[in-house]
Subunit: 189 residues, 2 copies
DNA sequence: AAGGAAACTTGTCAATGCCTAGATTGGTCG
DNA sequence: CGACCAATCTAGGCATTGACAAGTTTCCTT
């Protein structure tokens, strides 16, 4: 094992994401992380400072990934919502950290930038998709409703609170659920 | 200070809820909790066994309180949703634990019972409120959409992710957001 | 080749969770 | 009334952890 790891920072983040996914955030130990990667117990501190720094790095990276998924999904509201849910359920270890301010260094520039990018994207997507059928001026409430819906679904799914048939895909169920929003006159009797 | 505290169990839960609310779940220390209440460092273990036991007790109590709020809100969907949000935002310390399986002893009877009561109530409320205007057979998706919406809103609010005007009441904003669900034909052009 | 910065290690300390054993109290039954 | 007994709480100890300080190895630039 060479003295220099190569890309220890990324390896630590990967290991941390895996550990969070299987055991939860608060059972994550920096020393155990170092053991898994095969470095000394103080190596993580050099890259992240402390626990908070590690979580902050994971969250910033997570928002970047989320942005990429949202962009790739196209502009449509439902598609963006499905992409949001797919990201959250496919990467629960990352998602579990992204909306937990107590765990994060809020003034971190990388985190703030990545989060802002994601926020702009979400607002724009929801406003565009929903604005067509709704009264003007409600776009803020509409965007908030859309974000709340997909965020809540993803959170509940990751918590195991939604009992779906075995093998069901969360993003497909999310599509059915998200389309309940902003039902138009055509669906009414 | 008497040897017997009187109601140490409740006092520990109260102190834990306060601590979680201000510092987050994972910064909660059983020893610090004991110090705040004025008992020895091993006293909490007698009542809860371990950390997981404490969180489980908090969650079970939380679901009981949520059930009471939902019942008191009346049968209407929007009212129940607003009550859900009000509970979650008024008791963030309790809510922060209730949907975190890694923190809980899932097989605890009290927790399972309280959670089931809350679940039944949520399904019934959402189904009744939304069924009127939606196609039959979609009640499951409708209930899920409603629950996801309010849960997501509450989660995002507690995370500080929603930038509302200073002093804004979360449950009022939630009412505006929740009414975006299941818009009927009358609202469409 | 030399020097400095970056990456990583070793050692240490207070604090924590959990375990075992002991002390104190309140109730219960003769 | 008094003796037991279970429940409640205390005391002590151990392995592990996060954070800090100081030293060592490697890489990069000039």
């Amino acid at each position: 094992m060479p003295y220099h790891h190569g890309d220890l920072r990324a390896a630590l983040i990967d290991a941390a994401v895996d550990a969070i996914e299987s055991d939860g955030v608060d059972r994550l130990s920096l020393r155990d992380l170092a053991r898994r990667v095969g470095v000394s117990h103080a190596a993580p501190a050099h890259h992240f400072g402390d626990r908070t720094g590690l979580f902050t790095a994971i969250a910033a990276d997570g928002f970047d990934r989320l942005v990429r998924e949202l962009v790739a999904s196209g502009g449509d509201f439902v598609a963006a919502g499905v992409a949001y849910v797919r990201f959250a359920t496919a990467e629960p270890g990352r998602f579990a950290v992204m909306f937990r301010p107590e765990l994060l260094r809020e003034d971190d520039p990388a985190l703030a930038a990545a989060r802002d990018r994601a926020g702009d994207l979400l607002r724009a997507g929801a406003g565009a998709g929903a604005g067509a059928g709704a009264a003007a001026g409600d776009t803020r409430a509409n965007a908030l409703a859309a974000w709340s819906l997909v965020h809540g679904f993803a959170t509940l799914w990751n918590a195991g609170a939604i009992d779906a048939p075995a093998g069901a895909a969360p993003d497909e169920l999310a599509r059915a659920v998200a389309s309940r929003l902003f039902l138009r006159g055509t669906d009414a009797p």
